[in-house]
Structures are given as C-alpha cells and as structure tokens.
C-alpha cells in the first residue's frame, strides 16, 4: 500500500485525523481516544497488516502531549507513523496497545515513567527506570531537578 492509499484508509477510520506533509513516513495525527481502535484495525486488516511496532515514544509539547507509534508491516513492507494527541498535560491518559503489540508493554511503561502518561488497561503499569518514589516525570519540558541538572 502506498502512502496515498494508507492516508485514505486512515481517514476512513478516523475522519478527524490530521496529516503532516513531507515527512519520511506517512504521519497521521489522531485524537488519543481513537488509538486503540485504529491500532487494532491497522494490525488486523489484511490490506495494512501493521504487525511490527518498532518504536513507541512520547513527546511533550507546551500545550499537549503526543504518543508516537512507528509501525511497519513485515509482510507488505510499508510504514506509517501514528501520533496520538493528548490534550491534557495535567492528567494525560490514553488506551494501551500492548494487547495488540506485546513490545508496547515495556515501551508504554517507559513513556509512563518519563512522561507521566497513563495507559489505561495496561497490565503492569509501574515505573520502569526510576524508583517508585520518584517525584515528577523527567522528560517533560518543565521538569526541574536543581541537583542533577545543569541549566544552560
């Protein structure tokens, strides 16, 4: 499937999806509430078959947060990037996809640990790198650690 078809496919699933142009992969921005349904569809639809989630990460923007899913289909050999936009920075929540791709289990724990994004229905959502007692989410842009961080 080429990028145009994929774009149509995603638009059919989520009419509210936004697309970023001129990127390396097809880049779709979808609302956070749709992520589980679109992921399931992308994984199971015989036309897309995105069975390999090779990167999952979060980004903190001043007014919203994103969880970014890099997908590849190992059979059909095409790529796409789904960005789930979470509007709340105070209480960010999104559905887990680790029932669809097992690798998401660790990656989502990492994103939870460093960004504070809560993944609903995640089987074991704990901090992965930092202590359970750690205060704050270090990869957020407003994170302050006067002891360990040197301000430039």
């Amino acid at each position: 499937m080429d990028n145009e078809k994929l774009k149509d496919f995603i638009l059919k699933q989520i009419p509210a999806a936004d697309f970023e142009e001129n990127a390396q992969y097809l880049l779709a921005i979808v609302p956070a509430s749709h992520i589980h349904s679109i992921s399931l569809e992308l994984k199971n639809n015989p036309e897309t078959r995105f069975d390999y989630l090779f990167c999952l990460t979060g980004v903190d923007y001043p007014d919203h947060m994103q969880v970014i899913y890099h997908l590849k289909s190992t059979e059909l050999n095409h790529y796409t990037v789904i960005k789930a936009r979470i509007d709340s920075r105070e209480k960010p929540e999104i559905d887990t996809v680790c029932d669809i791709w097992h690798t998401a289990e660790f990656h989502e724990r990492e994103v939870y640990d460093l960004f504070g994004i809560v993944f609903r229905n995640h089987p074991d959502l704990r901090r992965i790198f930092l202590d359970e007692e750690w205060v704050g989410y270090p990869l957020r842009k407003d994170y302050k650690d006067p002891y360990n961080m040197i301000e430039y």
């Binding site: 989630l53 791709w101 690798t103 790198f129």
Partner: protein, 375 residues
C-alpha cells in the same frame, strides 16, 4: 481423610518462591535485576527490573548540540558504538540533506562490520562462560584484541570511539588500516572454525541450547525482537537489507535466517553473521574510493523543523534514532529505540517453564547490554 490429603498436595504444589537475580550477578552482564518466581528450579515468571544505570541520555541530548550527542551514544551500547554513532550522523545528515562522500560510506561500513565482529566475539566468549566453559571467554577476547587494535590506531580509542561526526569522519583512516584489517581477516578465518569445534559442535552445548527458549516468529515480531535474536526465529529484520544505508547497497551478503527460534538458532545466527561480516569486509577493504573523509558542516548544526527517523543494524538488532527538531541547535526530542530494550521484553515469554540454567542460556543468546536497555 482424602480431602485433607488433596489439600496437602495442593499446598505442596503451590510453593513458589522468589529469587533476586542481580543487580550483581555473574550472568546478568551488568546491572540487570531479574526477579524470578521459581517452583523448585523451574521458572514460573521472570520480571526484569531496570534502571540501575539509567543516565537519562535522552534528556541530556535535548541540551546538547548534534556533535555532542554522538559521544553519548557511545555509552549506550558500548559494544556496537560505531553503529550508534553512525545512526545519529545519518539522521543528522538526512536532515541537513548533505551528500556524504563515497569514501566515508565505505569506511563507515567496514568499521561497522568490524564492530559487529568484535561484539559477536565478545558475545561468543561470554556465552561460553555463562554455560560454564570459561576458556571460550579468553579465546573470544584474543580475537577481539586485534580489532580493538585496529580501532585504536585509526579511531583513537578502543571502545568508545566517537569516530563519526555529522558529515563524515573524525580522521581519515590510518595508513596501516587496510593491512591490519586484512591480517585480521586471515587470522580470524582460521580461528572461527575453532569456535565451532569448541562450542557449537559440543554435545553438552547442543543439549543445553536446542529447544530451549523457543520464540515463535509471530512473537518475535510482536515483541519487536530484532537482530540475530529475531532472525533466529525467522523474522527477517535486517536493516542492512530492508533499509540499506552507507555502503550496504553495494555489497553482497546474505541475511541469516533460521526457523527454529531456540537458543541454538540464535547462537548459530550470530556465528554465521560473523562469516557474513568477514565477507562484507573482504569485498570493501580493497575498494575504498579516494576522496574526502568529511564534508565541511557548519560549526553549529541546526536541523530544519521536522522529524527524522534513522534505523541502523547494530550487533544486537535494529537501532533507531528519532529526532524531532524545532529548528534549534539541539533536538526538541530525541528518542533512541534500542534493540536490547525490546529484546528483553520477550525474556519472560521465552523462559517460562525453563530451568535456571536455561534462563542463563536464553539471556546469553539475547546478547543483552544493559546500558543499551537503560540508556
């Protein structure tokens, strides 16, 4: 009476206990901590606890310039440092849209393959040691020594080389580089069959690894297990084939795939990969084109606004650098997709029902480098 007996039996059967394997343990290769639920010697559950050397490299990168990021990647997967350097450089070069000279591409590829070889040699030695054959460790290091000497002469360091810079290489290759590399190939082609004699063909080794820690292809894809570990399960994931970079489009090599998905398949994949690496170096070492060893970039590199994803194949699997740039001198967000992190997530799946000794074998064949996992 009978009820009581049944109750007793049930109580006896459900005696699970926990063992902390690590953070200081000889076979977790660093500071990985595994909490094992055991039933006798049989593993019911493995729960990795990470973060003992989490250094927040991603956060540090958000404050560093693109040149400065490179030396941080050295410290993640120190055994395939050159490939990680290369990943960042390729990502930045992609963003800057500079065309790098052929010479740089070829040298990068040769050094990448040498790094892969040295990583696999160390892995082979440690794999033997984990299974109780301590001598392999020394033999692995003996052959690795020649490669580190090559690196030291050309790149200036043995392990954390920082040989790449955005736009090319730190120095040109040393005049002795080609000769030394050829010497090494001759030497190693003699020594590599010894690896088979000592370990691969050994009946104890085969019994210890065959049918242990089986990971199906579907699971490998779902868990994102890449590199030789994934290819041992039949998951064709070699970035050098699927998304070729540097000089890989020009060379001929096989992607090693095996179907069994057990420890032995993963082991054999790595051994065969060493032959392929030798093969790649053989093709390139005499054909290093003349030219510049770098293109001049600005002192302050500013990537255009946008995002860039660059994959490379490290010794452990698919390494990704995901740069989100907002046009400033440091990236807005930089994510390292490290192969070890995903590979580790499949450990629980693979090792349930195995014995403690098998867990050690499985971990060895996953070839974990803890800084790569923790970052």
């Amino acid at each position: 009476m009978k009820e009581i007996e049944e109750q007793e039996i049930q109580e006896l059967e459900s005696q699970e206990y926990f063992i902390n394997m690590g953070p200081q343990h000889p076979s977790t290769h660093g500071v990985l901590r595994l909490v094992l639920s055991l039933d006798g010697e049989i593993i019911r559950k493995v729960e990795p606890h990470l973060g003992y050397i989490h250094r927040s490299i991603e956060k540090m990168c958000e404050h560093d310039s693109y040149q400065q990021i490179i030396h941080l990647t050295d410290r993640m997967d120190y055994l395939s440092c050159h490939m990680l350097n290369e990943a960042v450089c390729l990502g930045v070069e992609n963003g800057l849209e500079v065309e790098i000279p052929e010479r740089v591409k070829v040298i990068r590829t040769i050094i990448s393959e040498l790094t892969r070889l040295s990583s696999h040699q160390l892995w082979w030695g440690v794999m033997g040691m984990d299974l109780g054959a301590i001598t392999t460790f020394l033999y692995g290091f003996r052959d690795r020594e020649m490669i580190t000497d090559i690196f030291e002469e050309t790149c200036g360091a043995r392990l954390t080389m920082s040989y790449n810079i955005p736009g090319g290489l730190m120095f040109d290759i040393h005049p002795n580089f080609q000769k030394r590399t050829k010497d090494f190939i001759v030497h190693f082609k003699k020594k590599l069959p010894e690896y088979d004699k000592l370990l691969s063909d050994n009946v104890i080794f085969r019994e210890r690894t065959r049918g242990i820690g089986v990971l199906s292809k579907e699971d490998a894809i779902s868990y994102g297990v890449t590199g030789p570990s994934g290819r041992g399960s039949g998951f064709s994931c070699d970035v050098r084939k699927h998304n070729p970079y540097s000089a890989y489009p020009k060379v001929e090599f096989r992607e090693i795939l095996r179907e069994e998905g057990d420890c032995f398949a993963r082991y054999k994949c790595r051994i065969d990969e060493m032959w392929e690496s030798l093969n790649i170096i053989d093709q390139l070492i005499d054909n290093i084109p003349e030219g510049d060893y770098k293109v001049q970039t600005r002192t302050v590199i500013k990537l255009p606004k946008g995002e860039f994803y660059q994959k490379v194949e490290t010794a452990r699997g698919e390494f990704g650098v995901y740069i989100i740039s907002d046009g400033m001198k440091s990236p807005y967000r930089l994510k390292f997709r490290s192969p070890g992190f995903s590979n580790l997530s499949a450990l629980d799946k693979m090792s349930r029902g195995c014995k403690i000794a098998d867990l050690v074998a499985i971990m060895s064949t996953l070839d974990l480098v803890i800084p790569d996992i923790d970052r």
